[in-house]
Symmetry: C2
Subunit: 302 residues, 2 copies
């Protein structure tokens, strides 16, 4: 958590990334970011009436006058502060004409939420990633190819002519968390560390035999009992198995394509390592940078 401090001059506007588990705000001036603040008041912990107090608790010191705030993420979901209805692909990732204005009690807040994207067939949704994609396109305006956003719900996105053409979401990160923390495997999985050789073997195995997942998972347990498999090797194999299965299914996205990774640096490093094994050299962008670039692009279009 980082609390906001009073600024020498009021911000022009405030960018807000409000996800399930976090709330991050950036005070913006004419030349860019002035200050940042964050808290754990994610959408998942708040009832609708608690969003405004949580926001004011975080950024109150910045609010000396009515201030435009642009937000993205799960704050706009049906269980969020106010629903910002999905836009349907194919379309540009963000549209300044499709924001949801939220009525607030505090007159200093002029609060807008950017909507997520939906795809009807196969059914899929995103919220927050569309802003990262818009930011990546703002940083690389003529980009054509694929963006991969690894995370709890990893997304592979086909980009052409500035639009999201199609996308597919994988439960990879959530599976990793469930298996490593909640399953019978949890006692044999290290909390961190990376064994490249163990990862590579598991990645290649899952790419060629993805149906073996359930058996390979139990093997981690059995090898822990019978052969003293190290917890770091077990963690790396679990990661390789799940990313390998994702890569097997996402092959139409990455094969022979430009690939840009957008995400947390540690996770992007693992995905980049795995893509290099497949002969793909990705470009990597930081997710927080992309979110800010996306919201800034949106602000410029208002």
């Amino acid at each position: 958590m980082t609390a906001a401090q009073i600024l020498p001059a009021p911000p022009d506007w405030i960018a807000v990334d409000w996800g399930t588990t976090h709330l991050r705000a950036t005070a913006m001036g004419a030349a860019g970011p002035l200050a940042q603040a964050s808290s754990n008041d994610g959408m998942g912990t708040l009832t609708p009436a608690q969003f405004e107090p949580a926001l004011i608790a975080l950024i109150g010191p910045w609010l000396t006058a009515p201030t435009k705030i642009l937000a993205c993420g799960m704050v706009g979901s049906r269980q969020g502060w106010a629903e910002a209805k999905y836009r349907t692909v194919p379309c540009a990732p963000l549209d300044a004409n499709a924001l949801t204005r939220v009525q607030t009690h505090d007159p200093r807040l002029i609060f807008h939420i950017a909507p997520g994207l939906r795809q009807d067939n196969p059914a899929d949704v995103m919220r927050g990633e569309e802003t990262q994609i818009a930011g990546a396109l703002a940083l690389n305006p003529d980009y054509d190819g694929v963006m991969c956003l690894p995370g709890t719900h990893s997304k592979w996105v086909h980009i052409s002519a500035g639009e999201v053409v199609s996308f597919q979401t994988f439960l990879t990160g959530e599976m990793f968390a469930l298996f490593s923390q909640q399953s019978v495997l949890r006692h044999g999985i290290a909390p961190d560390g990376f064994d490249g050789a163990a990862f590579d073997l598991a990645l290649s195995d899952a790419l060629s035999r993805p149906e073996k997942l359930g058996a390979r998972l139990f093997s981690l347990r059995a090898e822990g009992l019978l052969a003293n498999l190290s917890p770091i090797a077990a963690r790396s194999r679990l990661s390789g198995l799940l990313i390998g299965m994702e890569f097997a299914a996402a092959k139409p996205y990455w094969l022979g394509q430009n690939v840009t990774l957008i995400g947390a640096p540690t996770l992007c490093d693992i995905y980049a390592h795995a893509l290099l094994q497949q002969g793909i050299t990705p470009q990597t962008l930081n997710a927080a940078d992309c979110t800010l670039a996306g919201l800034s692009k949106l602000k410029g279009a208002l």
Copy 2:
């Protein structure tokens, strides 16, 4: 929970099935079962010193003299009451010469634990299922073929000439529990109910495209949001996806083989339904009956 009552005559011996989450005892007479008792004092909730009190709390009324007790299951694991070291396949599922005698404070308890089985390559283990297999073989002495024991950790077992030749464990049931109860899918999954058409489509899809698992899981969430997917259909699709992936990997076990299912009736029904789609007509045995038959066979060999 069912408590034990005082019997008209003392039992000849007592059969105990002591797993991670349950403790079940059967008082045995010359002609078979006399009475049953069960509690939730599974191995997972007990420290080593708590096993003897938990057992006496359950079967105290049956103990009028020193009584032989034969137990199987996780009670014999390293985290159990006393470790009963695995026997290595290929071997008969049980061996009366390989029991672990546990020293007790109460002189009425003559407590023995049957060991589980291990396979070194690929590494795999079982505890409790070996007794069900022994029971199934006692009921069908000349059986050659495959036994499938669906459950938290489903097992496929190749049986020949009265021995376990090889086996493979799948995390299928635990994955089902994690995804349906702990993941983002949990709000859209019914607690029970079965939609056969939804199950069959998912089963067939996972058999042919097992690598799609992570994407198909997220689709359950997205279709819930966008297309009002029913919670019973979602539950049945989740089940079909996971069993389909297991069947894809276990194909060398079941293809063209005699298959016997051993497990809880509801789960065996689903597996039998899925096997019929593959042209396999399985025989089904009740797991509790097999455990008792296995321990009885062991008692007869002492």
